[in-house]
């Protein structure tokens, strides 16, 4: 509605030969990825409410959707930060599992208090991230190769640590993943994600420290010569990524009261998909946490539609893939429009 109005006003202005209306709308949307995604998410939600009035807009379905997107949502904050700095981490799924399993071992087998187990899990994640960061910045191995290596290493360490996993862990530990708020009755992983996204979004968008990541991704050499400590920032980015994977891991383990050794398999690609959909580029220097979380939301809605529709899981990947390619081609459009 508002888009149509703006176009009308512009059409009346005496300017040079204008492009066709649809083209202009596409360009306007292309210039803000967050806006594009927001419109798409709202449209998708509306469409699903109309088509599946008995299945989609129900309490249980909504709760399930929001709870399921929690781990991806937590990870997308860190991945967005890394991609802004021009790098990324493929090992997040394995880190998530390793953290969950260590929390499970500490609480379930050793009988430590739940709080200590949570802390150990997050620390394991942070250390895994630190190792990634050291490999990338100190040894100078490309992030793709480095984290591809640690992806299998951390997964293997997960198996070595706990064999088939730790089940059950402990009731007091499980409480941290199952506690729900009294009104919406959504369990804690969602709320943790919400807090992390809000805080992370504010930090990345507004604070001086995190602003430096945009410079690092925008032109690492110029950033270095501007007196920005490029390597140190990238290291910190990896540690944050690891700690976030740790949080996602321990909360997941707590909710199920079970540390599963193959938790988070393949989640890294889902996270990167959402991050790119949310406006990050592999070259770095752009993207926002808000965009990232909208990307997560969008993918979650499409998955939900597929499940309700019973067309089934088989089509899900096709749709997500097409949407990703479409979003990235919008970017090409944006750059072309600038010249």
């Amino acid at each position: 509605m508002s888009v149509a109005q703006i176009s009308e006003n512009e059409a009346q202005a005496p300017v040079e030969q204008r492009e066709a209306l649809p083209l202009r709308i596409v360009r306007r949307l292309a210039n803000s990825r967050e806006l594009t995604l927001f419109v798409l998410v709202v449209l998708l939600a509306l469409a699903m409410t109309i088509v599946y009035p008995h299945n989609f807009p129900t309490g249980p379905n909504m709760r399930a959707v929001l709870l399921n997107l929690a781990p991806v949502g937590i990870l997308v904050c860190g991945m967005m930060l890394l991609m802004i700095a021009g790098t990324f981490d493929l090992s997040v799924g394995s880190t998530l599992a390793l953290s969950g399993v260590w929390a499970g071992v500490v609480a379930g087998w050793w009988g430590w208090p739940a709080e200590a187990a949570l802390l150990v899990g997050v620390l394991v994640g942070a250390v895994a991230g630190l190792i990634n960061g050291l490999i990338v910045t100190r040894i100078g191995i490309n992030a793709l190769i480095a984290t591809l290596g640690t992806l299998t290493i951390y997964r293997s360490l997960t198996y070595v640590t706990a064999g088939t996993g730790v089940t059950p862990i402990s009731d007091s530990f499980a409480e941290y993943g199952r506690a729900a708020d009294p009104i919406l009755r959504i369990q804690s992983p969602f709320w943790a994600m919400l807090i992390l996204v809000l805080v992370g979004g504010w930090l990345v968008a507004r604070t001086r420290f995190f602003r430096q990541f945009y410079f690092v991704g925008g032109n690492p050499r110029a950033a270095q010569l501007s007196g920005i400590r490029v390597d140190r920032l990238i290291l910190i980015g990896f540690i944050i990524m690891g700690a976030l994977a740790g949080i996602a891991g321990v909360l997941g383990a707590a909710r199920l009261n079970s540390a599963v050794v193959n938790a988070g398999v393949g989640i890294e690609l889902k996270v990167i998909t959402a991050t790119v959909l949310g406006g990050a580029s592999l070259k770095g220097g752009e993207g926002t946490v808000l965009g990232g979380i909208l990307g997560v939301l969008f993918i979650a809605l499409i998955e939900n539609a597929m499940i309700i529709n019973a067309v089934g899981v088989f089509w899900q990947g096709l749709v997500v893939g097409l949407v990703l390619l479409f979003a990235v081609s919008l970017d090409r459009f944006k750059t072309a429009g600038r010249g």
Partner: protein, 508 residues
């Protein structure tokens, strides 16, 4: 007999620049002809046109009396014209043999590369040059001199009539240079004509038979090397009206702000010392490869320093990285604004704020309004032509980009500002404005260290000129009254030892 190469009335224009204007030369078989000129005189352009890298705008080129049409590098190569590029055209990951026969590898059945034959031929070619390099070795493991020899072998891999060498010694040591000269002389004895592009006078006297001097794209003269002198060549190179004039300044240099003593950063900086006073513009001059930029990078902590002391305001500092230098009050505007200076995809506000994130923040919060005010102030002060501070920097003109880059460093209020090539790729109008800005800065008491490869620029700006050669600071001149000849003489003093080597060889 017709000359090997005859160029008549050759013109070449690039958008906005006349690189070559009515140039005619002819080169005999077996002659070694130097092409001499300052940076931007058009000497490399001439070589590249003959070798088919650039197309000409007008004029005629004849090779052994046959008129050459518009040709590309491949066609030129088939005619026997080889070029050895300044920057090197080898693929480091591939073997020597493969580089020599790039795209023309001998094949067996079904297009299969005959590796043995290729290596044998590469070996023969290199042996012909009187050296031994394993053809199976990767180019990445070669020394610069060896790589240069492989480049020549690559040119020799076809029947060669004319060889163009574009600044071949920039990366070579003295002994390696001498070796290269021997090879070139042997080729000339075999009847190959050589065009030797250089701005090192000493090398020309050591190697060449004749020399053609270009100046601002025009022919300044051709001389027999035996009948000319250094003085005459320098006059020919420089002899144009200098359109950048000095401004008489009433500036008084203040106390010493910056001292660097015996700074070494091998291999390019061996022992360089400099002092800069408050309100003084010191220009660092020297030929390409003399270590000027590298010296500055070492001061700024962007290059590892192995020896030497650096003091700011008398207090010793030891920058291990640009951030240390920045905190000590040193700023550096790098030479290449696109790759190392600007964030081309970001707007003016972010570019300018990059060095002073703390200044445009309240607490931990990055303040957009503060940053915009800062950028807006500089847009006005430096007269940056932009519709808005939110304009993407990559879309500005070269001169305005350069001003944004300056603003980025002015924002941190440096005590010493190093400016490497302040007007590279900037048009004449913006150029004088940048000079005005730099002088204005000095008047405010900033110590300025300017690196420039353009002598008129050095003479227009400097209060004092420090000359570097071979990684060392070799001399100093007052800016007032200095001439290009004096600077060039200092800058080439070290390389002239090549000429002595030759004289000894001839005498023996």
């Amino acid at each position: 007999m017709a000359p090997r190469l005859q160029i008549s009335q050759l013109c070449k224009t690039f958008p906005g620049v006349r690189a070559l204007d009515d140039v005619s030369i002819s080169v005999e078989p077996g002659e070694i002809r130097a092409l001499l000129g300052e940076n931007g005189a058009g000497k490399s352009t001439l070589g590249k046109i003959v070798a088919g890298v650039y197309s000409r705008t007008s004029g005629e080129v004849r090779l052994d009396a046959a008129v050459l049409g518009d040709l590309d590098e491949k066609a030129a190569g088939e005619l026997g014209i080889g070029i050895v590029h300044q920057e090197g055209s080898l693929v480091p990951q591939l073997s020597v043999a493969e580089n020599i026969f790039a795209g023309r590898q001998p094949t067996k059945w079904f297009g299969q590369v005959d590796i043995r034959l290729m290596r044998e031929r590469a070996h023969a070619l290199i042996a012909q040059l009187g050296v031994a390099i394993d053809p199976a070795m990767k180019v990445a493991f070669l020394s610069p001199a060896q790589a240069q020899i492989v480049e020549i072998a690559k040119a020799l891999s076809r029947e060669l009539r004319l060889l163009i060498l574009d600044e071949p010694t920039a990366a070579l040591t003295l002994t390696e240079t001498e070796k290269l000269f021997e090879i070139v002389r042997r080729l000339a004895r075999d009847g190959v004509s050589v065009i030797y592009v250089s701005h090192r006078l000493a090398e020309i006297f050591a190697l060449c038979d004749s020399v053609t001097v270009l100046k601002d794209g025009r022919l300044a003269g051709t001389r027999k090397v035996a009948e000319t002198t250094t003085d005459e060549l320098i006059r020919l190179m420089v002899g144009r009206e200098v359109h950048l004039t000095r401004e008489a300044s009433a500036r008084q240099a203040g106390p010493i702000v910056f001292e660097a003593d015996g700074v070494s950063a091998p291999p390019l900086v061996r022992s360089a010392s400099i002092t800069v006073r408050a309100g003084e513009v010191v220009c660092l001059a020297g030929l390409i490869g003399s270590g000027r930029s590298e010296f500055c990078e070492a001061i700024f902590g962007a290059r590892r320093r192995t020896a030497g002391d650096i003091r700011i305001g008398g207090a010793p500092v030891d920058p291990h990285g640009p951030w240390d230098a920045k905190h000590a009050g040193i700023g550096m505007v790098p030479e290449d604004r696109k790759t190392s200076g600007l964030f081309l995809g970001m707007d003016l506000v972010n570019n300018i704020a990059a060095t002073v994130l703390s200044k445009v923040s309240s607490g931990a919060n990055f303040s957009n309004s503060k940053a915009e005010r800062l950028a807006g102030g500089f847009v006005k002060e430096l007269r940056i032509a932009t519709p808005s501070v939110r304009k993407i920097v990559g879309e500005l003109s070269g001169g305005n980009q350069q001003k944004v880059l300056l603003a980025k460093w002015l924002a941190m209020e440096p005590r010493l500002l190093i400016v490497d090539e302040p007007t590279r790729g900037v048009d004449v109008g913006a150029r004088s404005e940048i000079y005005r800005l730099l002088r204005g800065l000095a008047e405010k008491g900033v110590a300025l260290l300017v690196v420039s490869s353009e002598l008129p620029e050095v003479l227009a700006l400097a209060d004092r000129i420090v000359v570097m050669a071979e990684g060392r600071t070799v001399g100093e001149l007052p800016g007032e009254g200095a001439t290009e000849e004096q600077v060039l003489r200092l800058a080439t003093r070290f390389t002239s030892s090549v000429a002595n080597v030759r004289e000894e060889a001839v005498g023996a």
